[in-house]
Structure formats: C-alpha cells, structure tokens
C-alpha cells in the first residue's frame, strides 16, 4: 500500500507541475527575469501550493499518526548555517541558468529530450558529489525513516 501511495503521489505531483507551467524552462526564466519582461504567472504556483499545503499540513499533523506510517517525520532544525545559505545560492544559480529545479526536470524526462537527460544526469552527479565533499549530516533522519516504516 505504501508503495502504491508513493507511486500515485509521484504521478499527482508531476501532473500538478505540468499544469502549473513549472516544466517549461522558458516560462521559469521569464518569471525569474524580474528586471526584464517579468512574467508573474509562476508566483501563483507557489501561492496555490503553499495555501493548500498550509491547510493540509495542519489537518494532517492534527491526527494521531499518518494513515500508513507509525509517526510523522518532519524536520525540526531551526538554525541557519552556511551550508543552507551556500546551498540555496548554488541551487538558485543553477535554476536561473537552466530554468529547471529538481521536480520539473524529472517530469520533463518524459519528453524524451537528450538535453533534459544531460541536466538530470548532472543533477544526480551533484547529489553524489555533495556527499563526497561533505559527509551526510542526517543520521537522525535516517533512523527516523527506519522507525516509521
């Protein structure tokens, strides 16, 4: 059941991304072009998503436990460190350069475009590279995930 839910949620999420315009890099760059011919449409993606999730989040965590898991696993860190700031800066630079963030890039693989595959391949290389350069700092999260299974 959990496996089916992960698959179905991946599909639902991808459909939302496709409808929203986030899978069109030209549209994304148009939104990020604040000092040019700014296209504000994608602001409404984040707006719509945060509004629904703001309510949904509160309804969900108000229940004793998730439908198919023993407990909720939500990040608890509140500190702002250099890794957060540098990581977000690098991510934003790559996002502005190609017009893809991780979700839409994975959805765009369905177009069969070799260009998209190059981006996604490099993105996975980036995931691996980060763990090689800076050791993963989330043993607590791993344990949490294991316990919730």
């Amino acid at each position: 059941m959990r496996l089916v839910s992960f698959f179905a949620l991946g599909a639902l999420f991808a459909i939302g991304l496709g409808i929203s315009g986030m899978t069109q890099p030209a549209k994304v760059v148009g939104f990020l072009d604040l000092f040019g011919a700014w296209d504000p449409a994608l602001m409404f993606v984040m707006g719509g998503a945060v509004m629904v999730n703001f309510v949904g989040y509160r309804l969900a965590v108000g229940r004793p436990h998730p439908l198919l898991a023993a407990r909720f696993d939500v990040p608890t860190r509140r500190d702002i460190d250099w890794q957060l700031l540098l990581g977000a800066t690098l991510f934003g630079a790559g996002w502005g350069l190609a017009g893809f963030c991780p979700g839409p890039a994975l959805v765009a693989l369905a177009s069969g475009s070799v260009d998209v595959m190059v981006f996604v391949g490099a993105m996975f290389a980036g995931f691996v590279l980060k763990d090689l350069v800076i050791k993963p700092a989330a043993p607590k999260l791993q344990a949490g995930l294991a316990a919730s299974r």
Binding site: S20, T23, Q24, A49, A88, L90, W95, P102, A146
Partner: protein, 146 residues
C-alpha cells in the same frame, strides 16, 4: 483546456502540487521534497525497502510526465538550450546546492513555507534571489544564452 503556465493554470497546478504534498504527510508522514527523495534513492546508506519507496515515487513522476505529455504536449517543451556544457553546469549546481541546502522548491518552498520553518523561509528567499540575480546577469549583462 486552460493554457499551461497561464495564471489560472498556475493556481490550479499549484493547488495540485500542494495537495500532493499534504497527502504525502497525511498518508506517509513525510515531507514531499524531490531533491531529498531522489538523492536518497541513490545514496549509499539507503536501505532496500526505502530505495523501493523512493523509486516508486520517481517512477510515478515519470508516468505522470508521460500523461501530461499526451494531454498537454506544450507543457513539456524540453530544455532551454541545447548547450550541454551549460546544462551540465546548471544540473551540477542544482544537485549539489539542493543537497547542501537541504531542499529545493518542493521541500523548502512548498512544504517548508507551509510549515513556517525558519530554515525554509530563508532558503526560499535565498534561492529566489540567486535565481533573479542569475537571470539578470545572463539576460541583461551577458546578453542571453547562446
């Protein structure tokens, strides 16, 4: 059919994204963060059953993408450029940056902002600002991508 990427489509698509994130929490108790799910799929320390769940999510995304490509093909135009050097550099920055910063547009943006997490609010502000700055430099200083 509404035009993908128009303001009404952005709102509807955004609401579907938010719904998927809320259901991930309600059903599985987890944050829907794509960079974390995808990176965990290939990370060395991930258990087999965990890998399977993450793989199912990614497969679902691909199948959802194929469905979108069928119904609204203009939603999947491919990449911005055919310059593979640029795409590889961008992909590397996105992959490395999202792991270092602990999230992307979904984990920090959609989920973290809805939780009012201070880390996510800061991360979202920073990656948006970096995106604005990068596009400004490319379009208005360098005169555009080749």
């Amino acid at each position: 059919m509404i035009e993908p990427g128009s303001i009404p489509a952005a709102l509807v698509g955004g609401a579907v994204i938010g719904l998927a994130a809320a259901l991930m929490l309600a059903v599985n108790g987890r944050i829907l963060g794509v960079s974390g799910i995808a990176a965990g799929m290939i990370a060395a320390g991930t258990s087999g059953s965990e890998r399977l769940l993450r793989g199912a999510f990614l497969l679902g995304m691909l199948v959802g993408g194929l469905a979108i490509g069928r119904v609204i093909p203009q939603a999947l135009p491919g990449a911005l450029t055919s310059n593979h050097g640029v795409l590889a550099l961008a992909g590397l920055a996105v992959g490395f940056g999202t792991r270092l910063g602990g999230g992307c547009t979904s984990g920090h943006g959609v989920c973290g902002m809805a939780r009012l997490s201070p880390r996510s609010l800061v991360a979202t502000g920073v990656f948006m600002a970096a995106g604005f700055a990068t596009v400004f430099v490319i379009r208005h200083v360098l005169g555009g991508l080749s």
